[in-house]
């Protein structure tokens, strides 16, 4: 056995070694890929490396050969139903699900399958008493589900809307696949009708192809290839099996709940991952839990053992769930490792500091590239005491703007809207945008790395601008003291509206090309120049600033407590040079600390030689000056 070379991405050298030293155990459950019964032609039984565990290539091929297929009365059925493999899955639990006999069986099954810990949802069938108010369980109508098994209808999109859109988009997919096939042929990469496992060398052209969407049935392999999955897997051969055998040991361990508190949380989330997906449904398989749920559990538990620094963090269930639809279990596991270490470092850690850093970076980008949106988002800070409004204003026409007294405070006290955008990053848009849009973002994430998540976020924010303008959201900026009060109220209101808008807007992004064609491919949109280097630099900067502020704010806070009332940040910026007066507090805060924070410069985005960014910032300044003049 080769010793694992510890990759720089991992913090867990010990774990790796530990696992490598332990003897392989006999496994008590099927380890290999999720073998969905009757899913012939897809899984190739237990072939570990079959890369398209659930997503059926032939179904798509057939569909794409005849995209018009989906039109007409029984379109629903033909969309993904008229296919052996898919049909077999659907058939297994299709039809008369509501019969009482089955309900009884299901209930029994639920109880059996759930064991401990999932009690919150298990007696779903015993709900007759309130049946009137309970949404009917998903109808097992094949046509109601998309090609991945997700229910087409969501709170924001009707099945009809989906079908109309899909008629067109599926044709687009066919065209794109044709182009991909040509590209592969030209590059001399044969793939014998199956999903290719190798892809052309990186190039602008390939990047464009990826941005226009990887053929769905090739996705698993393409993601794996672009994310360099083989590298990590080869370095860690057999490790996943060892993790699984450790899970087996833990299963019989006493007080495992105490030793592994993540287990219970994972258990609770298994059925709350894709309740709207056929492959993840509790009732999908009559002989126990669905195979996908079992795979999901193993991947998540294995990960929690593999990386105790992260353990299990909610949102990883969504990442793993989506991966499992495209990759076999072991590869899904390693891709989860790659996402959480390479693309989203620290984001899922116990303190979620990575989330805060990335949200700080996003805010910096918004401020730089989307000043209009920033004017909605920019924080209007209250002091600790919620009803005392003194302010740290970032108002662009305020004189203290340039003094930088609190220039970067929003990096520490992130605007409330980041609670919403944080979930975009944590789950990489799974459940945030409709699935086809999410998949297109994933294509780019694996090819272009994490900077694409920022681009996609900025793109969505930009698109939502209209929605924001429609609302009376943005109250004209109020500078006068006697308007403070109404400003507080309007700030609360606009925070709420902003959050609501950003919470719902992405959910309506059914057509990925709305985002890609209108935003991502537009050269004149300056944030498209953001590259990974810039994002990495930004992350470093924000991390730094947050550390400084953390120490500083903690000192301020503690002094406030000792004063018994909130101190006021007098940020009028008029007390030139006499910075200590800025804080109305008696507790000494070290001068160096204050100096350190107050002297901090704002982040300087790289100015492109093309001058695009530069022009943008000039434009913004001109805008500010003009605004100021208008006021006077």
């Amino acid at each position: 056995m080769t010793k694992a070379r510890t990759d720089s991405h991992f913090h867990d050298a010990e774990v790796l070694e530990d696992l490598y030293d332990s003897k392989p155990r006999k496994l008590g459950f099927p380890v290999k890929s999720p073998s969905v019964p009757n899913f012939h032609g897809v899984l190739k039984s237990n072939n570990y490396n079959s890369s398209v565990p659930l997503f059926n290539a032939s179904a798509v091929d057939r569909l794409q050969a005849d995209p018009g297929y989906s039109q007409g009365g029984s379109s629903a059925n033909s969309l993904n139903g008229d296919d052996d493999a898919n049909l077999s899955v659907i058939d297994m639990y299709g039809g008369d699900f509501d019969s009482p006999r089955k309900e009884q069986t299901m209930k029994k099954m639920d109880t059996l399958a759930s064991g401990k810990g999932t009690d919150h949802n298990t007696d779903r069938i015993s709900s007759n008493t309130v049946a009137s108010t309970i949404e009917t369980p998903i109808r097992k109508n094949v046509g109601s589900f998309d090609r991945y098994g997700f229910r087409k209808q969501t709170t924001y999109i009707s099945e009809g809307e989906y079908d109309i859109w899909w008629t067109e988009y599926s044709q687009y997919c066919v065209r794109r696949k044709g182009k991909w096939e040509l590209l592969l042929e030209k590059s001399g990469l044969s793939y014998a009708g199956d999903s290719p496992t190798r892809f052309p060398a990186r190039s602008e052209k390939l990047k464009r192809y990826v941005r226009k969407g990887i053929p769905a049935e090739w996705r698993g392999n393409a993601w794996w290839y672009f994310a360099k999955g083989d590298e990590i897997l080869n370095k860690n051969k057999g490790l996943y099996d060892k993790l699984l055998s450790r899970i087996d040991q833990i299963k019989v361990q006493k007080n495992r709940e105490k030793l592994y508190p993540d287990l219970e949380i994972i258990e609770r989330d298994l059925h709350r991952t894709f309740p709207d997906n056929i492959h993840f449904q509790r009732e999908s398989f009559q002989d126990g839990e669905s195979t996908m749920i079992k795979s999901l559990r193993r991947v998540l538990v294995a990960f929690s053992l593999f990386n105790p620094k992260i353990g299990y963090c909610q949102s990883m269930n969504f990442l793993s769930g989506l991966l499992l639809l495209f990759l076999d279990e072991e590869k899904a596991f390693w891709m989860l490792v790659i996402i959480t270490s390479r693309y989203l470092p620290g984001v899922h850690n116990v303190n979620l500091e990575g989330v805060n850093v990335d949200q700080g970076v996003l805010m910096l980008c918004v401020k730089e590239y989307l000043p209009e949106i920033w004017s909605y988002i920019k924080p209007f800070y209250k002091t600790q005491n919620s009803n005392r409004v003194t302010m740290v204003s970032f108002s662009s026409n305020s004189s203290m703007h340039s003094k930088g007294t609190t220039k970067n405070e929003f990096l520490y006290k992130l605007p409330p809207v980041t609670l919403c955008t944080a979930s975009w990053f944590m789950s990489c848009f799974v459940g945030v945008t409709p699935i086809e849009t999410t998949l297109r973002i994933w294509d780019c994430m694996f090819y272009e790395e994490s900077n694409f998540l920022f681009k996609a976020s900025l793109g969505i924010l930009k698109m939502s601008e209209q929605t924001l303008n429609k609302g009376k959201l943005h109250s004209t900026s109020l500078n006068h003291h006697n308007q403070l009060r109404s400003r507080k109220v309007s700030q609360d209101e606009s925070d709420m509206e902003l959050f609501q808008a950003l919470q719902t807007f992405p959910k309506k992004l059914l057509n990925p090309n709305d985002l890609f064609e209108k935003i991502i491919f537009k050269r004149r949109i300056t944030f498209n120049n953001l590259d990974q280097e810039e994002i990495d630099r930004c992350r470093k900067f924000v991390k730094n600033q947050r550390n400084k502020y953390k120490n500083y704010i903690e000192a301020v806070d503690s002094s406030q407590y000792s004063n018994g009332r909130a101190s006021k940040y007098d940020d009028t910026g008029h007390n030139n040079g006499n910075n200590t007066n800025t804080f109305n507090t008696s507790t000494p805060i070290s001068d160096t600390m204050i100096q350190d924070v107050l002297s901090s410069e704002g982040y300087g985005f790289k100015k492109g030689i093309s001058g695009v960014n530069w022009n943008n910032s000039i434009k913004e300044r001109v805008r500010q000056i003009r605004k100021r003049k208008d006021k006077e």
Binding site: P275, Q314, F318, Q384
Partner: protein, 208 residues
């Protein structure tokens, strides 16, 4: 409070993962229940217009949060300005009950409310539709806890079967409104201070 401004009541729902926070919020706001809620990441919120004092309306902003402990570090920003905090446990889950107190303490630390002693909380013991044998938290121990935390109102609810959800949220709305008005009054007092300070600042700058 004489203001004709629309009142916004901000309510935060806290509790362990899986106790039914999302379900309770949807039951109250939309009168719906689904088996299909996904785990909440970050926070979600819904609003509901409510009647207060007969003729006036207020907007209740119900914030649903992620239950996993680590998400608390994200919550800081929106705890602030809360008018009421709802603490939820699952009657079939001992740990979720034991954590009620720490959820309250966490909230107080982050929300920095003006007077923690009087800040309104409401406790909800959810999932009472589940069969008796699975329940592990007795009514008595729940009442004891509520009392020990300062006579917090307690409701035993079922989002699924729609039991006691409306009465609970009526109480939540009532106490949130009360808190909101207290804060508004305090603001009036404080408001004048704010002006003075800023005027001082301006005087300084004129001098130089």
């Amino acid at each position: 409070m004489s203001s004709k401004k629309k009142t916004i009541l901000k309510v935060i729902i806290l509790g362990d993962s899986g106790v039914g926070k999302t379900s309770l919020m949807h039951r109250y706001v939309n009168d719906k229940y689904s088996q299909q809620y996904k785990a909440t990441i970050g926070a979600d919120f819904l609003t509901k217009e409510i009647n207060v004092d007969g003729d006036r309306t207020a907007t209740m902003q119900v914030w649903d949060t992620a239950g996993q402990e680590r998400f608390q570090s994200l919550g800081v920003a929106f705890y602030r300005g809360a008018d009421c905090c709802v603490l939820v446990y699952d009657v079939t889950n001992t740990k979720s009950f034991e954590n009620i107190k720490s959820w309250r303490d966490e909230f107080l630390v982050h929300a920095n409310v003006s007077s923690p002693e009087s800040f309104p909380f409401v406790i909800l013991g959810n999932k009472i539709d589940i069969e008796e044998t699975k329940k592990v938290i007795s009514v008595k121990s729940a009442q004891d806890l509520a009392k020990s935390l300062g006579n917090i109102p307690l409701f035993l609810t079922s989002a699924k079967s729609s039991i006691n959800v409306d009465p609970a949220f009526e109480e939540i709305a009532r106490s949130a409104l009360q808190q909101n008005q207290n804060d508004a009054d305090a603001f009036e007092e404080d408001f004048n201070d704010a002006i003075n300070i800023q005027l001082d600042g301006e005087a300084d700058s004129c001098a130089c």
